[in-house]
Symmetry: D2
Subunit: 282 residues, 4 copies
């Protein structure tokens, strides 16, 4: 019997960055958080403490700031591509680079009818995301959205489901559905206008969540995925997860009152979770 090193990776997480681009009469900002991982031949570092192949995680962090200075950031996907390109070019010891980017969204403060040229308000907890998986042979990039919290008060039901002796849930219709949407998707080709597509996918997800006459969370998830794939030619797969937030009808019967879907108790703890991939086939 011998003991050996298996799959391994290392890198820097949570590198936060704000990039300002100043043009005459208008400033733009972009806030990102980056995670970087290297895979490669790091056997000697693990087994013998021989560090010649280990570029410090601290250097990855420096590189983020340097590349952000060099490139006036437009889409986080493009920034991930610059990062991966840099690391694979200068690090023969690395066979694979993984980059994750999460964008914190800001909107301009309105000043009268116009958006302010240089003052911003944070747009919320929702994030725009990108994940890159790159080797010297192939690069895969996924765009995504995270923590998009939605709620609908009609047009959904959950009925005629499987029951066992431990089931107490009753058929329901038009109570309340609140979910946290997370999605990421894969492109057909590499020639993508990331910004407009991201906004388009977000709009399609929201509209289909809103308008779908849902028979279950699974049913709505699939409808949302189908709508995205039907609308966007260059998306070939989407992965969606819906976190079903706990919204229970307050029981007012002990006080002689009804509660016709008006007062709900909320919780952010225990919740349902549904996830699926939806994809195009030939």
């Amino acid at each position: 019997m011998a003991i050996q090193l298996g799959e391994n990776r290392y890198g820097e997480s949570g590198v936060r960055l704000l990039r300002v681009v100043k043009q005459e009469g208008r400033h733009d900002i972009k806030e990102m958080t980056l995670d970087i991982r290297f895979e490669g031949d790091f056997e000697e570092a693990h087994a013998r403490g021989e560090n010649r192949s280990i570029l410090p995680a601290d250097t990855m962090k420096n590189t983020v700031y340097i590349l952000a200075r060099q490139y006036p950031v437009e889409a986080i996907e493009e920034f991930c591509l610059h990062m991966a390109d840099h690391f694979l070019t200068y690090n023969p010891q690395v066979t694979r680079v993984l980059v994750g980017a999460s964008e914190t969204l800001w909107t301009r403060v309105p000043l009268g009818a116009k958006p302010h040229p240089s003052t911003f308000v944070r747009a919320g907890e929702e994030k725009r995301t990108a994940t890159l998986d790159g080797t010297r042979e192939e690069t895969t990039i996924r765009s995504g959205i995270d923590n998009l919290v939605v709620l609908k008060t009609t047009n959904f039901a959950f009925e005629d489901f499987r029951r066992d002796p431990y089931t107490t849930l009753k058929d329901s219709r038009n109570l309340l559905l609140s979910a946290v949407i997370r999605a990421d998707w894969l492109y057909e080709s590499e020639d993508i206008e990331f910004g407009p597509i991201w906004h388009g996918v977000r709009k399609t997800l929201l509209e289909n969540f809103a308008e779908h006459d849902s028979r279950s969370l699974q049913n709505t998830l699939f409808a949302m995925g189908e709508a995205v794939l039907s609308t966007f030619d260059n998306i070939k797969e989407i992965h969606i997860s819906l976190m079903d937030k706990d919204c229970r009808l307050a029981d007012l019967e002990p006080f002689g009152m009804d509660n016709p879907a008006e007062v709900f108790l909320l919780s952010d703890e225990q919740h349902g979770l549904i996830e699926a991939k939806v994809r195009k086939t030939q």
Copy 2:
């Protein structure tokens, strides 16, 4: 020497509630989190475990749901008033009721050019708040805003400040200022349209943060407070705190690069904090 009970209070915290109001063709929602505290003569409960004067915190929670059923909630301030009125009416053992409300904001999902009638997206981390302090003689209510995160890239400076041997900060001008605004304010009278005033104060705070040619955080805070008091006749005092978020310029000199206020490092940990009351005097 004797040992005796001093100031004391008890209650229920973090009671979360979603209220739905359904009208033909349009549903409205309001999400709130409530904190309730009672003060009164609870000496016997503490000293002898005699509970006759202790209405359970659990009953406070029930009462929140019941009152939410009875009142189609319009402004959180009004809901606080209903709560305090109920508790003071039915609990002679209570001398003072404190109610804190925090509203989680939702906006309608846009559907084409129109807002959707029954589907919502959570608007962010910002909260609308209200705090009530009520006795049988007097009720004070404050409206507020919390966790409003803003950022400006020009029109501020911090120069000619006091220095001591441990000071390393340099004079700065038009780097980057990011702050978290918290504010709450007190009314002159009781006849207030809480909703429109809240939106007005928020707009005034944001516009003055944006437009003020700031010489310090203190200077901007005071300008914001002054603007609110000048604009709204029925506000007599405002308390503002500005949390100065850490945004340091990335040092790219070691790499032979300048950084003309373009790339910043961010952190949510250590931060400055400025707070002040601004008030009208006769």
Copy 3:
């Protein structure tokens, strides 16, 4: 009508620090988070952007590190005293200094039967705290403990409490009581051995929570406070808050099962909160 500045203060929050003291064969560490606030005459800074009286919050942060280098930290209370002394000595424009310290606790990794001389494991979420309020005339220091989570399965009850039409809670006895203890206390004199007293108070609080045959949270809180004041001559007042964590008995009746206080549902959201001061009188 005029508009004027009211109470105001500023400072630095969340300054984190780890201090290592190395002796032959044994290293000691102390981790602290500091909050500092200045009060004084800052009218000109607010109203006119005149910064001559504003020592930057950034300098407060530098000062924390410098003082930590100068003083081999023993008790956080002593470190707060050094801070306040420094700031009041060198800043005539400041009339009052507030310092809050929170210590993250570490224990030594055990190595066989002995504690390791230089390796530590973080002891949990519980914090040791200190708060100092100092002017040139007077300094008040309070020691404290925060986030001490406890649970007992017997020797408590909550019965014969006040009921109203909205009360559904039933009398209970020996179900389950889980609470988060926060406490801080005030000393009679200034000549205090902070470390031993802190450990003594913690022990007294825990033992009395454990052993008190409780008739309510209020009753237990008072017993805990009384025990601390009776045990420690040099403590003249203690403020205790008990956050009553939500632990509901799982209702297994729908499945034909009883649940004799064996299976509980937990939540960290909604909770009760009881707080009181207990003090000595002449």
Copy 4:
């Protein structure tokens, strides 16, 4: 081109539970949080809103409480096995069950020299974990530990690493190393005494972190993994991740002071991350 459903699963997350076992003179408690996922043929539910194969996530939650009532919980791994067995037995539509369990650790309050029979204090942020992946053919169970925060002040270095033009990190020796350990491991056989092995692995990880004369995080990780595999015959693979917490030496040179590894700045944001599997081979 067609659109079709790919990999999918659903379930309930964050089900929290406290189990009390009462024996004469001694009560025991166990706190767990459970995540459950089902995989199976859910095509019709997604595509047509036909719910006959969907056992509600709410039923999973009920089942957790019911099984907790039936089994006096000993090890969380055993509870996961009961859960998977139940779901696979009664749900032919399910092909795979995934269960994750995380145990919140409590210790007894000491009362004099003895542990209290029925009062507990929460032991910290560290969790004991288990993950089960079960089909009708095969069940894999992994035990683990999460969020074990450690720190050492000597016996490590990071030198002679790879450098590029963006590298600013200097060789270091005996500064400060703080890491968050997460690990999970796989057993050779099914006949395991989960409790004693978990405590043994924890002890081995801590001792090796403490005693290893480290040349890098990778080097320490491998040594820790090797020690676990050498010590425990029935563990065949361990996956370890070390999150390298940011601990920078305070720069006191501007103030004319040295800092011989005594004062450090801490942060919980940006951090390095190293992870690897170590396994036995024939």
